[in-house]
């Protein structure tokens, strides 16, 4: 039963992702991306990583998607479906992406680990994650906060309307 749910989520995830890069309207594309991100959060729950899933929803769906919508609304008159949305290299790009996909699938199929099933042990829990973040990964963790601060300040500086 859970497997069936997973496959449904996986298929819809791919469908939404594909739609978000193909639909004509940019706003629709952003909506599709929202569903894509939500589905990814669902995949995380299947992987026994509920914390990552929650963060995914909080940060991506709650934060980044809002930004995207804002940006789309601020850059008016471009969401019009009549404007060409693809570059001139649509078919070469598609072919290359397809070729890489085929290659990756072949590699995955050829390897035995792809058949590995869920191990009986429980995955890392929230406590372990927290301890790791604040001990072994403390320095990168703090760097991330520094990076976010820099991005914040940088965004304000760049976005300020110069008189």
């Amino acid at each position: 039963m859970t497997e069936l749910v997973f496959y449904i989520i996986a298929v819809s995830l791919c469908a939404f992702a594909f739609l978000s890069v193909t639909v004509g309207d940019v706003f629709h594309s952003a909506v599709c991306l929202t569903f894509t991100l939500l589905s990814v959060a669902g995949v995380y729950f299947f992987l026994g990583a509920p914390f990552i899933g929650v963060i995914q929803i909080l940060v991506y769906v709650g934060g980044i998607m809002t930004l995207f919508i804002f940006a789309i609304k601020l850059t008016a008159k471009i969401g019009d479906a009549s404007i060409r949305q693809f570059t001139r290299q649509l078919w070469p790009g598609a072919a290359l992406a397809g070729a890489i996909l085929a290659l990756l699938l072949a590699v995955i199929r050829a390897n035995a680990w792809s058949l590995r099933l869920l191990p009986p042990v429980q995955g890392p829990d929230l406590k372990q994650l927290g301890v790791e973040l604040l001990t072994r990964y403390l320095l990168p963790f703090e760097f991330i906060s520094l990076l976010l601060l820099a991005a914040l300040v940088g965004a304000i500086v760049i976005g300020k309307v110069k008189k």
Binding site: Q89, G93, L96, A99, I100, L103, V107
Partner: protein, 607 residues
């Protein structure tokens, strides 16, 4: 007391860095830094001199290198010769720096001048203190560098820049010899310490060769025949530099080197004989040129070559005390003469003695001190030059080679002659130039007076009245010395004869037509010969190489650059500026990479 000696060069060295780094801030005050540092060194030198009574010796600061198991250490030697040089260098150096405050006043590179002078003082003091040839060579190059920098100090003048290069390159010839000599001595004698000079045992021809190569360095530095050509040109530098470096101290370093390695020379008569002959040739040749020179500084420059030649002659004839004694007295009175000449040039703004005349009444202090210096140089009793020159003449006479003795006597005669001529032309007779001469400021005359005092009385250190204190100080092992009264009378007679001849010919100096004695007037054509032999062919070679470089080498380089340019021109249309094109290429690269990695993995799996 003796083992503070190694601090002596440190003070001028610190002064050099202070003046280089803070020169712009200090301004005129940098002169006081330099003078103060030299004065401290002088005081230390006096302390070392007094401490020497309790016994000298050498000591090692720290071991440094080891060549095939034979050590070369940072060692200091303190003996009578070193202390004599220390006193001469610090006292004369300090006085000349005081003089420079006045002489160089207002020069745009005033601070740099004093920085260079301090560096020179430091190198020169280091040179006389070290206890082996290897370290000596380092300081030897140091003084050579400072000499070049200071000769070309007014490098805006093309002549000064050329003179600096000439000084550097000509002495480099000698320095190469010295370096070869050091290497030879190290490889066959296994020691560079001066203290070991007398005990080194090696095949006779090699040791003679080593001694001659070392003497070659001395020839270059002391401007002896045939490497004397740089010294007259070096007079393009500031006169105070000429006094310090090119009269009193650095050029004497060659004589010092021979004196320092004296055991090496005395052990091999051929080497000693060469020293004497080269010295004799230099002495007579330079003295004869000085008789015809009209530039006041050139006269003194040739006189310096001549007197250095006399010192070499004295050393070569076995007169160790005579050579070193003359080195000391000469440093004082020649510095005095140069400073006096500087004072005159300062006043009349010309160096041509034919355009001077009648300066005696206008510049009393300069004139009187200059005449004292000239009389000391001429060897008139009882001034300092008399005693030291007499010592040399005695040594040459006892040596027994009549040719050398005639050379020494001729030099004495000519010295008296040209100095009298110089004084008659510059200070007496009618004033011939359109100049308003005036006495120099006290900061310049004061060193003159002090140096004149030394020129007057220093000689008594080697006189019977002081029981030959100098001789007993510098060479105590030589035993009792006595004044050769006959030689003293002869020496004075020769000097007086030179002076008298000059007085008799005084009317002819001005009306002298050039070309009468073309060989000597043109300095025996040395510059022309060297120009034709070395400079011109070298220029031609350089031009050929430059042409090859420009046509062939640059051709290749330009060809490569043109190829790259063409390629870039052809390929720049690849850069569309569209980010999607770049990304497509990047993704294609990733594709290829995955394929390659997979295939390689497969292949590795197979094999």
């Amino acid at each position: 007391m003796v083992n503070i000696a190694h601090f002596i060069p440190v003070f001028p060295f610190v002064a050099f860095w202070l003046n280089i780094i803070f020169g712009c801030r200090l301004g005129v005050a940098c002169a006081y830094v330099s003078v103060g540092a030299s004065a401290i060194s002088a005081v230390l030198a006096v302390l070392v001199f007094m401490g020497l009574q309790a016994g000298g010796g050498s000591y090692v600061l720290t071991p440094w290198l080891s060549v095939n198991g034979h050590p070369i250490s940072l060692g200091i030697i303190v003996d009578s010769l070193t202390v004599m040089m220390l006193l001469v260098v610090t006292i004369v150096g300090t006085l000349i720096q005081i003089y420079s405050i006045g002489y160089m006043g207002g020069d745009p590179r005033f601070t740099r001048y004093f920085a260079y002078i301090s560096l020179f003082m430091s190198s020169m003091l280091g040179l006389v203190l070290v206890d082996n040839l290897f370290l000596l060579y380092i300081f030897w190059e140091g003084v050579g560098l400072c000499s070049c920098l200071l000769v070309a100090f007014w490098y805006e003048k093309p002549a000064a820049a050329a003179a600096g290069i000439k000084a550097f390159i000509t002495t480099r010839v000698g320095d190469t010899g010295l370096l070869l000599g050091i290497l030879l001595l190290m490889s066959v004698g296994h020691s560079l310490r001066f203290a070991d000079m007398s005990v080194i045992s090696a095949p006779e021809p090699l040791m003679v060769l080593a001694a001659l190569l070392i003497f070659m360095g001395a020839v270059g530095k002391s401007a002896q025949f045939p490497l004397h050509v740089w010294l007259p040109d070096a007079m393009e530098g500031p006169t105070a530099v000429s006094a310090l470096i090119h009269a009193a101290t650095m050029v004497a370093a060659g004589v010092y080197l021979v004196a320092r390695c004296y055991p090496l020379f005395t052990a091999h008569p051929l080497a000693l004989q060469t020293v004497a002959v080269i010295g004799a040739i230099s002495a007579v040749m330079a003295a004869s040129i000085a008789c015809f020179a009209n530039d006041i500084k050139k006269v003194l420059a040739y006189s310096t070559i001549s007197q250095l030649g006399l010192m070499m002659l004295g050393l070569g004839a076995g007169g160790y005390t005579g050579g070193t004694f003359h080195l000391m007295t000469h440093a004082f009175f020649k510095a005095l003469l140069f400073l006096g000449a500087g004072s005159v040039i300062h006043a009349v703004h010309t160096q041509d003695i034919r355009a001077m005349g009648g300066l005696f009444n206008k510049m009393k202090v300069t004139s009187v001190t200059f005449i004292i210096g000239a009389l000391a140089l001429a060897g008139v009793a009882p001034l300092s030059g008399f005693w030291s020159k007499d010592e040399i003449l005695t040594a040459v006479w006892q040596h027994g080679n009549l040719g050398l003795f005639i050379a020494a006597v001729t030099t004495s005669f000519l010295t008296a002659f040209y100095m009298t001529r110089l004084i008659l032309l510059a200070f007496f007779g009618e004033s011939r130039g359109a100049h308003k001469a005036h006495e120099s400021p006290a900061v310049m005359t004061m060193p003159l007076v002090i140096l004149a005092f030394f020129a007057l009385f220093l000689g008594f250190a080697g006189s019977p009245w002081a029981h030959h204190a100098f001789q007993r100080f510098i060479a105590p092992e030589e035993g009792e010395v006595a004044l050769d009264l006959g030689m003293a009378v002869a020496s004075t007679v020769i000097a007086c004869a030179g002076i008298l001849t000059a007085f008799l010919l005084r009317g002819k100096f001005l009306g002298y037509k050039e070309g009468t004695c073309a060989l000597i007037e043109n300095k025996y054509y040395f510059d022309e010969i060297y120009d034709a032999l070395f400079v011109k062919p070298f220029h031609r070679l350089a031009a050929a190489v430059a042409r090859f470089d420009q046509v062939r080498v640059d051709g290749v380089v330009n060809g490569v650059s043109r190829c790259v340019q063409e390629l870039a021109q052809a390929s720049r249309s690849l850069q569309t500026g569209l980010v999607e094109n770049y990304l497509l290429a990047q993704a294609g690269g990733v594709f290829v990479l995955i394929v390659v990695v997979t295939l390689v993995g497969k292949l590795c799996h197979i094999f």
